[in-house]
């Protein structure tokens, strides 16, 4: 059986195991809730991750370029970028898929799959790099918001009202003695 067909057949099982592995990165009490609460508004983290992983796996099966999967990956990384994870922990869940796929194949020994498997794993690697790009974008956005929020609200209002006078060009430099 060819690899893609096998993975497609096992998709549900693989995505389930991948989801559970990601949930294991949370505290056990938290994971219980994130796994069981089915309402997407009561449980945005669990649902976003579950649906995201499924769509991302589908993208891998279709051989979609990693950049194309970026929009699917973004909501997951955006959440994990503000949670209690190091950068590697926030993005490293992508690699968990490799083990799950290898385990799946182990149970179904079949020759001639090494080359397709390596190609599939290359796609996972590319996805992980994309995940890191998104993680950095999210963090940069956070830092940008940190520095800009005061300026964007209060400073802007004062400036609009003409209550802030900036140094105009051609004014004397008061530091020159």
């Amino acid at each position: 059986m060819n690899l893609d067909k096998l993975l497609r057949e096992k998709k549900r099982d693989i995505v389930d195991r991948w989801f559970n592995a990601v949930m294991d990165t949370y505290a056990s009490d938290t994971a219980v809730i994130f796994k069981s609460q089915k309402d997407r508004f009561a449980n945005p983290v669990g649902i976003t991750i579950r649906e995201g992983l499924s769509a991302i796996f589908e993208g891998l099966l279709e051989g979609r370029a990693a950049e194309q999967s970026a929009s699917l990956l973004d909501p997951l990384i955006r959440i994990r970028a503000v949670q209690k994870f190091t950068p590697s922990q926030a993005t490293g869940f992508i690699f968990l898929l490799k083990k799950i796929i290898r385990d799946t194949l182990h149970r179904k020994p079949d020759n001639g799959q090494v080359a397709p498997l390596l190609r599939f794993e290359d796609r996972i690697d590319a996805l992980a790099l994309t995940a890191f790009d998104i993680y950095m974008e999210c963090k940069e956005k956070i830092y940008d918001l940190k520095v800009s929020q005061e300026r964007n609200s209060i400073y802007r209002a004062f400036k609009r009202a003409g209550l802030i006078t900036e140094v105009a060009e051609g004014e004397p430099d008061l530091n020159v003695h």
């Binding site: 009490d29 956070i142 209002a157």
Partner: protein
């Protein structure tokens, strides 16, 4: 050949939390950057006479506590258990059913078990059991008790400032335990040791000194409002002439200073000015602003009952000084919770004022009989209901609006229908977010109760996720591009949250929408909205 390549599961180290309900006490607190606010400025602490003013850093090992800090906390705890019956009851009756566990936006967003409301309350309860119950004293950990230590104190500080006192958890508690009240008490106790955050302490000091959080002095307050009048004149050809500190005016208007000094609240402020001008022209409405009671918000609420009372009293003292009949309050969050739930027994009843009656419609605002303060959403809804406002909702046709129930007006005073009624009358495109994210079940903006700082941005974004997730849903389903709210903290916090989670959506106050739709007597044809953006259908004219 040995396989030296690390296995994927080795690459990602598992976070080894322990089960929250069994061993949570063993999980050491780690004060993480991005999750906490800077410690309070000692000058601000000193100005209002709070204890232990000094420079300190939460990341330092030495928090510069008074030597007898344990004794101070114990006495403070004892005093509050005697003074506040609710506190005592809330310490005793929780059965840890878990109904609240997954209802907190900070838990949902961070996934940290100590943000489950039950566990946040256990931080205090464990010490309560140890210090004030026989079972706890004798059985210790078996009875869920533990002594106060520096580690426990750090945990208190870290997690009590990861609660926005929004009270969503209390909606789901079968016993009606109000975890916000527990946070309030916990913060009071921390204040006894000088453990506050600067985003609360400095606004408190400013408000006490100049009357508003930013420390803006009366002349600058007038300058800002003058500037809004310039803008309104430019847009409509009509210049409102607001009154300041007018003795003998019928009504005193008080709004959070965020409406006067911070975008996008400033546009809401323009909406108020236009409404008051309209009512003055049409019906002789007599309302005054005050440059002294220039703040509706009350960060004393996040400090101690005494400080809340002190800051609240200035509003009523100003009403008394000016000799008005009653007070109209702007779009604010916790101001309304303080008014609706605490004012009456702190500074009330305000007998020197009259029971509020709308001078235009004759409606008697019976719910405000004792506090004498009416919410502007209710006031405006009443005007519209009686056909007193001429409106052109098509001027908001570029907006597809949803409404975020601000925690305090919704859960704290039951103001659910009035803002919706107003929005539907001034906008043609309104879409509700899912039922379990609005009204009494509304999700907090993630930055209330003094947490709207810059340095705790990760916390704010995580806490803002559940709200933003519902906004994202209506954005994708209905093309919603504007999030309306009736709280100044929301207007300051939600734009940031939207930029991270749903950048296509902007934030507005309800009275900005009113200002856009309101047809002022004698106005020229408008080409832009209050933000100076082209009105629908006016894009070409603006280009010419």
């Amino acid at each position: 050949m040995a396989d030296e390549t690390p296995k994927p599961e080795e690459l990602i180290a598992k976070i080894n939390h322990r089960p929250a309900f069994e061993d949570w006490m063993q999980v050491p607190v780690e004060i993480r950057k991005g999750m906490y606010c800077y410690a309070s400025n000692p000058k601000s602490v000193e100005y209002v006479g709070l204890p232990n003013p000094r420079q300190w850093n939460p990341l330092d090992e030495d928090w510069k506590l008074p030597e007898n800090w344990k004794e101070i906390l114990f006495e403070g705890f004892r005093e509050r258990l005697e003074k506040f019956r609710t506190f005592k009851v809330f310490m005793d009756i929780c059965v840890r059913c878990g109904a609240c566990a997954d209802k907190c936006h900070f838990f949902i967003g961070t996934g940290d078990p100590k943000n489950m409301p039950v566990l946040r309350a256990e931080l205090l309860r464990s010490v309560y059991r140890h210090d004030f119950t026989k079972a706890g004293r004798i059985l210790g950990k078996i009875a869920g008790a533990r002594p106060m230590t520096f580690e426990v104190l750090k945990e208190w500080w870290y997690y009590l400032f990861q609660c926005t006192e929004c009270r969503r958890c209390s909606v789901f508690c079968p016993y009606g335990i109000d975890t916000a009240e527990i946070t309030i008490m916990g913060r009071e106790l921390l204040n006894l040791l000088g453990l506050n955050i600067d985003w609360i302490a400095t606004p408190v000091a400013n408000c006490y000194r100049t009357g508003n959080h930013l420390g803006i002095q009366p002349h600058a307050f007038v300058d800002m409002i003058d500037f809004f009048c310039d803008d309104i004149e430019e847009i409509t050809g009509i210049r409102p002439e607001p009154q300041f500190n007018k003795k003998g005016a019928d009504i005193l208007f008080i709004t959070p200073s965020g409406d006067v000094f911070a975008d996008p609240g400033t546009y809401t402020c323009m909406g108020y000015l236009m409404l008051f001008h309209y009512l003055k022209e049409k019906y002789g409405f007599d309302i005054t602003w005050s440059t002294y009671a220039s703040e509706g918000g009350n960060f004393g609420f996040f400090t101690s009952h005494e400080m809340m009372k002190r800051l609240n009293s200035k509003m009523y003292m100003e009403a008394k000084r000016l000799g008005v009949k009653w007070i109209l309050g702007g779009e604010c969050g916790h101001m309304w919770r303080v008014i609706n739930q605490y004012m009456d027994t702190m500074n009330g009843p305000a007998d020197f004022l009259e029971e509020p009656v709308s001078p235009i419609t004759g409606t008697r605002f019976e719910n405000a009989r004792s506090t004498k303060m009416v919410h502007i959403a209710e006031f405006t809804a009443d005007l519209i209901k009686h056909g007193k406002l001429e409106l052109d909702p098509s001027r908001n046709d570029n907006l597809r609006v949803t409404f975020h129930d601000s925690c305090n007006p919704s859960r704290g005073m039951g103001l659910l229908e009035e803002p919706r009624y107003v929005i539907k009358k001034v906008c043609n495109h309104f879409y509700e977010m899912p039922a379990n994210t609005i009204r009494e079940q509304t999700f907090c903006c993630g930055s209330g109760a003094g947490l709207n700082a810059g340095e705790d941005m990760e916390l704010r974004m995580a806490g803002g996720l559940p709200r933003a997730n519902a906004v994202k849903y209506v954005h994708e389903k209905h093309g919603v591009n504007m999030l309306a709210c009736i709280c100044a903290i929301d207007r300051a916090a939600l734009p940031t949250s939207m930029q991270y989670w749903v950048p296509e959506v902007d934030v507005t106050g309800v009275h900005e929408l009113v200002g856009n739709a309101l047809i002022l007597p004698g106005e020229t044809e408008r080409t832009t909205d209050l933000r100076g953006e082209d009105l629908p259908g006016m894009e070409e004219e603006a280009d010419e």
